[in-house]
């Protein structure tokens, strides 16, 4: 692939910085160490590329991830060899599970020492094989230009994902005249399966025949930015749109045809709709087990159409009637054009009935509950902020109650379910979107996993606001112990420091709220403050997330919120 042409010799470290510039990278998140010293030295000559010094490499990966999820662009993180590289692993695994474009650069011990158990040597290429789309150990500086350009190409095309480039110390200092390739032609690499017009036509025919159709739109719509086409499709064929967790934002939640999220803690209407549907159109989703429940009971009456660019997702989890391969930016507009206008009035009457009968419950209690906080977050920010979360109850309540409008507004670790993700991901988003309001919604458990980044936020006067929902428990685990382990609470009580003092120690603006009366005012004060803000909400300790499909059960076993009238809670859906 190397061209005959040469350029003036430059070091491997310079090649890395040139590659970043070539790909429009304006910010990287990293942490220095022994073997990356030549790169950090070179960096001083590149003021246009900002380097954010994190306090733990895991957060460098999460920040790069948050940058990517909030912009649609490739996020870049950087770590030294050995422990620096292994600390990236959770962040890389988080990214692969949600198909996030990321390039991770790691330093490696000198090429001649690789394999000798040298100081801070680890086989990061071997370690990250199962959690990267592809990875490289570049032993010859002449291979570096191609490896870096290919890494960006692979990360950001087709089904996106993290790519790791491991570079030995002496490769950073070695000189090469090999230019960057102007295009990447990698034999056998198919960014997307070829579009199939016949399948699109067949899909349109199934829509015409269906009486109870539903769409489940996933992250594929977000990343292909086909949300407009999706909205047009829904309007033209009068289709209800349900979202997977990571599909939130692919349709404006306030669009009349949006039914919100479905899944283990999805809104009841979505779960009931899929149970009764005669046609299910999955668009850019991978039928995750948290969405399908027990597969044998999933969409029992429906023909299933699956749109995806990755054909390995077809029939991986559920049997499908029709697969429509191809990039959604091609297939979705074609599908929209092919469907005939129709109205599904009877079906909608039923859906509206379920919405009224089984709404999300936000109790009108006097004490402050997490749901009050998250509903107020939605209202006070006009549903317009970039929101990241950790994993657990607060994540599900945010997904239920925040009315996302657009792609790249919702940052959450869906596949891996990474606690500690929320705050650093929000920071990555805040660096990328300095003019937008960015909130990290975290629990007291997850926040204590990565809160050392408060210092990083302070140093950069970063406009990131933390909505800390403190219930003194690992809430979701506690909920499972309550419901499925007869209230035997085992290691779920979560002690915390005095977050006010912690914030003061870091120099972070702090508010605390423990009553509903103070809620709106607290949010307004927090929103008005500049720089990083930590807001602690002391909420009811034993609040549960409903609806809930117990793990391993079919979706017809959905448990409705106990606050709803008991006689109306369906156990088993009428056929």
């Amino acid at each position: 692939m190397q061209s005959e042409q040469t350029v003036a010799p430059r070091s491997g470290a310079q090649i890395v910085m040139e590659a970043l510039a070539l790909h429009g990278v304006d910010i990287i998140f990293g942490y220095p160490g022994g073997v990356v010293l030549p790169l950090y030295d070179e960096m001083t000559r590149w003021p246009a590329i900002q380097h954010v010094l994190v306090r733990h490499e895991q957060c460098a990966a999460h920040m790069a991830d948050g940058y990517a999820r909030s912009t649609g662009k490739v996020g870049v993180c950087l770590a030294t060899s050995g422990p620096g590289a292994t600390n990236l692993v959770t962040g890389i695994a988080t990214a692969i599970m949600d198909s996030i474009p990321m390039v991770a650069i790691t330093g490696q011990v000198n090429s001649w020492a690789v394999g000798t158990d040298a100081f801070q040597e680890t086989d990061i290429q071997g370690i990250t094989i199962p959690i990267t789309k592809h990875n490289y150990l570049v032993m010859d500086v002449d291979d570096l230009p191609h490896a870096l350009v290919e890494a960006f190409h692979l990360a950001n095309t087709g089904r996106k994902g993290p790519v790791l480039v491991d570079i030995p110390k002496d490769v950073f200092t070695a000189m090469s005249s090999v230019p960057f390739p102007t295009e990447i032609v990698r034999r056998g690499y198919r960014a997307s399966a070829a579009t199939n017009d016949t399948a699109v036509e067949a899909a349109a025919k199934l829509v015409a025949e269906a009486k109870k159709p539903v769409i489940i739109a996933g992250a594929g719509v977000v990343w292909s930015e086909t949300n407009q086409a999706l909205a047009e499709l829904a309007e033209k064929a009068d289709l209800p749109i349900i979202n997977s967790l990571l599909g939130l934002g692919s349709i404006d939640r306030q669009n009349e045809r949006s039914l919100g999220m479905m899944g283990m803690h999805g809104e009841a209407v979505g779960t009931l709709a899929v149970q009764e549907a005669d046609l299910l159109i999955g668009i850019g989703i991978r039928f995750d087990d948290r969405l399908t429940g027990k597969v044998a009971g999933f969409a029992p009456n429906a023909k299933i159409i699956h749109f995806d660019l990755d054909p390995s997702e077809f029939a991986k989890v559920v049997e499908t009637t029709l697969c429509v391969p191809g990039d959604l930016s091609e297939t979705l507009p074609a599908f929209t054009a092919a469907v005939q206008p129709k109205a599904n009035e009877e079906w909608w009457a039923k859906l509206r009935g379920w919405q009224q009968e089984f709404p999300l419950v936000v109790p009108d209690s006097t004490g402050l509950m997490a749901r009050h906080v998250l509903q107020m977050l939605d209202r006070t920010t006009n549903s317009d902020a970039i929101i990241s979360t950790d994993v657990g109850q607060h994540q599900m309540w945010t997904a239920q109650l925040y009315r996302f409008k657009r792609p790249f507004q919702w940052l959450s670790s869906g596949g891996l379910g990474t606690m500690g993700f929320g705050f650093p991901a929000a920071m990555g988003a805040a660096f990328a979107n300095p003019k937008q309001e960015v909130w990290a919604v975290v629990g007291d458990g997850g926040f204590q996993m990565t809160l050392q980044e408060l210092q990083t936020a302070v140093e950069h006067k970063l406009n990131v606001k933390i909505c800390l929902v403190n219930n003194g428990y690992l809430g979701m685990v506690r909920q499972w112990q309550e419901l499925f382990f007869e209230n035997r609470y085992s290691h779920v009580e979560m002690g915390s420091p005095d977050f006010g003092k912690l914030a003061e120690a870091y120099g972070v603006t702090f508010f605390r709220c423990s009553t509903r009366e103070d809620l709106e005012n607290t949010f307004e004060q927090a929103r008005a403050a500049d720089g990083p803000v930590l807001v602690e909400f002391l909420v009811e300790m034993e609040e549960n997330v409903f609806p809930m499909v117990p793990a391993g059960k079919a979706n017809d076993q959905v448990q409705m919120d106990p606050a709803l009238p008991k006689d109306k809670a369906p156990m088993g859906i009428p056929a």
């Binding site: 290429q125 071997g126 094989i129 199962p130 789309k133 592809h134 032993m139 198919r190 390995s312 029939a315």
Partner: protein
Amino acid sequence: MRHTQEHTVTALVHNEHGTLNRMISLFRRRGFSLSSLAVGDCEEPGLSRMSIVVNADDNMLRQCVMQLEKAVDVVSVESLDGKEYVHRELAFIQVDAPPEKRSEIIDISRVLNCEIVHLGLKTMTVQVVANARKIQGLIRLLEPYGIKKIVRSGTVAMSAEE
């Protein structure tokens, strides 16, 4: 229980740092059961061809082919099920062979088109090039003499026509 059986698949792959590791990792991670794997150079420099025998039901086989095709290392995948293809495996079987038993073992080898590639004071080594089932048959025939060691190359396979 789902019905599984052996399927032969070949994959043309980039011969790069980590390729074999990535392929093996894919099989392990996705739970594909490998019966045989053979890798070697092919007609094009820089590429290798892998012959893979996987024990799978139809759905797993389909997933296996899809996941291979998706791998960045892989240029192309060919499932040989239902196609005309040639396949062979090579094995060495070292067997106890005191002088009085030698001629029996030589007879068996001759009947099955095998070659004696080494004759020692106490053992003989038989080379067999055949399909896996025939190799299994030879092993059964030689077992009564006392098998010391077996080494097998894994199946190599190629579709018969383009």
